[in-house]
Structure formats: C-alpha cells, structure tokens
Symmetry: C2
Subunit: 446 residues, 2 copies
C-alpha cells in the first residue's frame, strides 16, 4: 500500500452486517486502495462476544470486548456502529463523537428517534455521522437524494423499505395463505426475526420514512407523531379481492406535500404548506413498477419536480448488500478526513420546510370492506352514508366469500376522497345492526 | 445570500438542456444556497445565437457570442459545456481546461471518443471534468457507481440508455406497426431527431456503454472497437413472434465479464480476464424488470458481487431531467472548489481490469429467424447444421406468417450457445437453396 494514506477503522458489533463489513474491508483492501487512494485498515473490532469476532477472521490482537478501547487508538479515525437499537448503540455513537471520531452507522431507529441530538453533538465536535445503509440497505438512495437530485423539490416519495413485510405480502399474494402462515414461513427461511414486531408493525419502515422526510423534504419530524400502520392486520381476503380488481398490496412509506411544488415556483422553504407522512398497507395498480417489486427487495420511487419519476430498486437488507453501503460511507468519510471537503456530512434542516398534515386531510382513493349480515338494503345503507359524507363511489361489490351462511362481504372502492370523511362514514356504518366486526380500510396509491 | 461564498458559473450552449440549467440556476439560487452553503451565480452564458440565450431570461449583459470570453472572468470557476458533439464542444472543453476551469458536461460522444485525452489534460491542469448527465440523464447513476457501490465488482451491467430507441421499440410492440412508421411517429412527437441516425444506429448507446465500462469495470476501451448494433433493422415480425414466446425486445447496452468475479476472490485488477461490451437489440423475458421499462424512459441494472442486483430507473433525457443532473455536478464541483476535497473528480483507469472479448465468444441463448421457400426438409436442414456446429435447440417453429405463397418463416430458439458457432451455422445455412434474404439474429439476455 505504498503511497496511500492509512485510515484506521474501528468496528463496533460483529454481527451479520458487521461481519460483512469486516470481510469486505479485509479482502478488498487493495481494490479500495486503487479506487480511492486510501488504505482502509480494519484496526480493531469491538464485540462483547470476542469469539464471534474471531470467527469473522479478525486477528485476536485486534478484537476488544469494550468498544471504549477503540477511542484510545489515535489511528482510528472512523468508528462504525453496527450494534443496532437505541441502547448501547446510542452510548457508543455519543462516545465516539465525544472522542472526536467520525461515525458510520446503519442504525435507522437511533437516528429517527434521537437524530437531532446526535447530529447537533456531531456538528459541535466537527464530526460526520454517515448513514447510507440506514435506509434501503445496499441501494445508493441517500447519496442520490442528497447529491444527485439536490436541485429537486419532491412532489412525492413512495417506498417499499422493509423486506420482511414485502416478503410476507408477496407470499400471501402468491399462495393465498394467511398472514400468520406466511409470517411463520418467513421466520423459518430467515426473512423475519423471531420477534418480528418492529418489522410487521411498521416501525422499521417508519424510522426510514422519518429519515427520508428529512433528506428529501427538509422536514424533520418528532418520530412519535408519524402515522404508522403495519401489516399485522392484513387479511388474505383483501389481497384476493384486490387481485381481481387489478391491485397488489404493499406496505408503503408515503411522503406527499399536500400541495405539490411546481417547477416554476420557488420558495425559501423548498416547498411550503403541509406534508403527509405515513406508513400504511396500500393498493398499487398492477402496472405500477412498485407493484412488481416482490420478495425481500426494496424500492423507492421519487417524483422530483425537475427530474420527474425515478425509481431505485435493490436489496434493502442482508449481510453484503448492507455492508456495501456501509463501506461506501467509510470510504467517503475517510476521503473527507484525508483529502478535505465535506464528504457525506449532513445535518437535519434547521427549519422545517413543511408542517405535518393530519391524516384526516389525506386525499386518495379508498378500498373499504365490510363484513355484514346479508339482508336487504345493506349495500344501500352503506352507500347512502358514504354519499352523505361526500364520498363518491367508483365501484361496489357484494360477495358471499368464505363466510358462513347469511354473512357477506361488501367491498367499496371510492373515488378520491378525504380520509376524515371516510372515517366519519365508517363510524356511522359501524353502529348499524347488520355490521359484523370491524371494516377494512386500505388506501389506493396512484 | 449573506454568508455564502459565490461561485460563478459560465454556461456554453443555450439549447434545450442549457436553457433548463439556466432556469434552474436562476430560479433556485436560494434553495441551492440553503442546501449547499454556496451561492451559485449564473455569471455568463455563451451561445452563437445571442437571441436564443436572451429568450431564456438571461440578462443581455450576461450573454456573449464567443465562449472564450468566459475565461476572461476570474469569478467563473465552473464552465458548463452543453453544445454537444465532438467539434466546437471539444475545443470549448479543452480551452476551459487550459484556462484552469473545472468543467461540467453532458457530452457522452466527446468523452467516449476523446475522454483519455480530456481527462489527462484535466489531470495535469488540476481540473475536474464532471459528467453525471452524460449517461442516463437525470438518473443519479454515475455517482451511485462511483461512490455508492464503490466496494463492488460487477458481474454484469444491462442498460436501456437511449430513450428514442426505447420509445420506438415500445411503440412497435404496442401497435404492431413497422420500424419506419414508429420512427416517423417518434419524430412527429419530438422523441426522435430529424436525423435520428446516432440514436437508432446505437452510437449514442455505445458512447454510454463505453463510459459505464470505465466507471464500473475499470476498463477504458477504444470506442471504435465496441460492438454496436442499432434498431434500424428490427422487423415487426420478430417483435410479434417474440411476444408469443413471452419476450420483449429492448436495445440494451451489455457489459459482462466472461468469468464473473466471485465475492470471496480478490485480484489487483478488480476482476480479471475478458469483458464483453456490446450494444444490441435483445429479448428479455416479460417478467424481467427491464422489460417493463417502456416509452422514452431509461433503466440500468447492475449486479454487484456485494450488493447484488440493483436497478436505476428514470428519465434519460429531456430538458429538466438532464438539467437536474448537470446542476448536481455544478454543486459538487463548486463544493470542491470552496470546501476542498476531491468532489466528482474521476479519471479513466490507468490499467484496464479486463481485455475486450470478441463477440464470437459471447455465450447466451439466441433467437434466429429464417425466411425460406416452404419445401420438405427445410426445418431438418437448418437444425442439422446448427446441431453439427454444437448449437442445441430449445424450440423450433415454422410459420406461414405474412409471406406470399410458398414462403415461410422458420424460427429457432437455442439453448446457451457460443456466438461463433451460431455465425458459422448462419453462413452455412445462408448458402442453401431454400433461403430467402438474410436471417434475423437476436440475443436473449437472461
């Protein structure tokens, strides 16, 4: 490596992704040196389980059990946090910043929940916190939003950003099996964790949506105010009905300004007004490129007012795809350290371009399904309530479905309607004597 | 703009894309200042047609007819070349470099043909030549390859990188009309130029493939050695037959190492052996995400050994999408000027990672169509020759098609075969007395 500057890397967390990062750094040191002019040295790995780190092929004299030991070594310029979660990971990131180290992390939960504090602390210390791998794994999405599309104001962002949910929904559609059966299968095959709640409840997608909002819409939200619905209540019946109607069900992160920016206009806020931010199961028309993204893949579609529609598609998780993104951050941070420049330095917007809009004001087409006792006048009663609340109906169907005798499904597809009017209608309809259980509400994104 | 550093921009060429760049720089000065910390000033626009520049809203005292005037102004740090072609554009780029200016260009023809010389000259002068807009227009593809996926060695790259060809092929498939009819339609609608030859002959795609080879495969080729077939000879009959077989026809840029790199292996060349580089009409299975990219859109699919399959999809041309990419380069170059660092600095590889492989050694499945006099033994004669040359047949069909009496089409789909063996067979078959005209050969990419 004669001639290259050596940049020491300290890695915290020798798990799946940590192992991939260590392997890539060790086996591709020459390749990266040729491509970057930097000798990236995996100087030390910290993990409470020393044996796990040793099994990755890291020499034992480079393994420590206490991550704080990394900060004693002045050669370590970049600290890579791959513990995950908001406990020890938060302490490690704060400690690294306090020790004046640049940080690379894939930790979407930590940044979505405590990002303001972390970025402020990093700013004060002059440190970079890079997080390409935190959203959409291996897909170079954040650098594309932050740099490649920098002149755009976005009219919308729709993303499939959780591979576990996409795998389960794809399997439900392909097999006709229930959510519970497909979750169990995903767990057997390693596509879902033993405790899958952070994925299926939509929290993981929510973390990513919060970060995408900050990057692409200059709007940093309090994570607790985000609207999140997971896939845990998705019924196979709705997937079947939707298929007949030409729709595919996906868990989407959705970001939409209430009034999309226009190309000609400009404002100091990069947009003005209110922003809808949500994670929810959505029907997409079968012809939509996002509808064709199946299995554990991720995809994000943006609509920039200059560039128009773009789609980024690839592996959102997994050992090497995520490690690919982490290493790209390591390279960028190391380059900024040795060659100067801002590198992947980023801080949340000082002033939000948008306010958060309440979902009651969301406007789209809605799919509603009611389980009813099959008696005369039911369809009329439901449609009358919707009409009175200003919801115009595009299609209505009544099925016998799989229900026992005398119970049927009524399925309504609305024209574009205001969500508050839909919810008011559902409350009214819910009080009617023919109703059995709760209605299903699924937004149709177009 | 208090507090920001002002970076003067000189724009050469007030055409479609130049107008878009000027408009974005003028209307989004504040937005860009907020996002970048830089005040990007459109200091001067050069165009031989001064009125055209004035029509873009540029104040007259900022318009010059001779681009060399831009170099007199020391405030102009970045020169944007949007003339296109390899004539005046080459002189302007060389002159800008000689005047010590960083260059942003969308000129794929110039870089593919004279890139070595230009980058060498820029290197000596300490100048950046940035060219995000040269491939796939608005899609942030080059930054993704150069930075986001930097640790990967690619196993393949397939791209639809010419919107004109994709529009024509999409229309042929949808309408059943001939190439000539669809070209005329594309010209009427502004999707093809009055002289469409650079697009339909595949040259434009070839320029992009040459640049992608350098960026993603560290292999810079002599442009004249690139294998290029356009769409000018595509027959509507083949599109129809293919549709029945479940294939869609696309003009693809294809880059494939003969021996794909493996994740575990590493070599100083980032890959070794030979590289297939080609532009040719290809059949893709209907389920392939690239097959669904229709109209004037572009898409590039890469297979990196760490990140696996990624797809980048969006507008490959057009005023604002291309301007979006040009402005991203302007921002990156300006940031490097004022904040330091390497910015989008890139130079062709000093040593090629791969040698160019002859297409005779290409291996894929082939679609062949022969127009024959319909007499006994024709199918047998054709398949016998193929078999003798080691080409194994997956399917064979004989159609009456649209031909006059006594003439038929014989269509063969091979298993994976060596292209040289296919060509030897075609020569032999071409000499047989039942042959009418030339056979069609279309590669099936999987």
């Amino acid at each position: 490596m004669a001639g290259e500057k050596t940049c020491g890397i300290g890695l915290i967390g020798a798990g799946i992704v940590g192992g991939g990062v260590a392997e890539l750094l060790m086996t591709r040191r020459e390749l990266l040196a040729r491509r970057t002019g930097l000798d990236l040295e995996l100087t030390a790995v910290a993990d409470v389980d020393v044996e796990r780190a040793a099994a990755m092929g890291v020499p034992r004299d480079r393994i420590v059990s206490d991550y704080r030991r990394l900060f004693d070594n002045p050669d370590i310029k970049v600290v890579v946090e791959l513990i995950g979660g908001t406990g020890v990971a938060a302490e490690a990131v704060m400690a690294a910043i306090d020790a004046g180290r640049h940080v690379v992390t894939a930790n979407k939960a930590l940044l979505a929940r405590r990002g303001r504090e972390i970025f402020a602390r990093a700013g004060k210390a002059g440190c970079i916190v890079a997080f390409e791998a935190a959203v959409a794994g291996g897909i170079p999405l954040l650098i594309s939003l932050r740099e490649g599309l920098i002149v755009n104001r976005f009219r919308s962002l729709l993303g499939i950003v959780n591979g576990t949910c996409n795998y389960i929904l794809s399997r439900m559609a392909a097999s006709g099996l229930s959510f519970a059966d497909c979750l169990a299968e995903a767990q057997r095959l390693g596509f879902a964790e033993a405790d899958p709640s952070a994925d299926i409840d939509g929290l993981d997608s929510g973390h990513k949506v919060a970060l995408l909002s900050a990057l692409a819409f200059e709007t940093w939200i309090d994570f607790s105010s985000l609207h999140i619905e997971g896939i845990q209540n998705v019924q196979d019946e709705d997937i079947r009905i939707a298929r007949d109607l030409g729709y595919t069900l996906k868990l989407l992160g959705v970001i939409r300004p209430e009034t999309p920016p226009e190309l000609a206009a400009d404002g100091p806020g990069g947009g003005t007004g209110r922003l809808f931010l949500s994670v929810h199961p959505s029907f997409l028309h079968d012809g939509d490129p996002l509808a064709g993204v199946s299995g554990s893949l991720n995809a994000v579609r943006t609509d920039g007012d200059a560039v128009m529609e773009s789609l980024f598609y690839g592996r959102g998780a997994g050992r090497y795809p995520t490690a690919s993104a982490v290493v790209s951050d390591i390279v960028a941070v190391a380059a900024a350290t040795f060659f100067g420049g801002r590198g992947p330095r980023w801080f949340p917007p000082e002033r939000n371009a948008y306010e958060l809009a309440p979902m009651a004001d969301y406007r789209t087409r809605y799919y509603l399904r009611f389980t009813v006792r099959d008696k005369p006048g039911v369809l009329g009663a439901i449609t009358t309530v919707l009409g009175r609340n200003g919801v115009s109906i595009a299609a209505a169907h009544q099925f016998e479905g799989n229900h026992p005798n005398g119970v049927a499904s009524v399925c309504i597809v609305s024209h574009t309607a205001r969500e508050g009017d839909i919810l008011t209608s559902l409350t009214e309809i819910g009080g009617m004597d023919f109703m059995q259980g709760n209605p299903a509400l699924i937004r149709i994104e177009e």
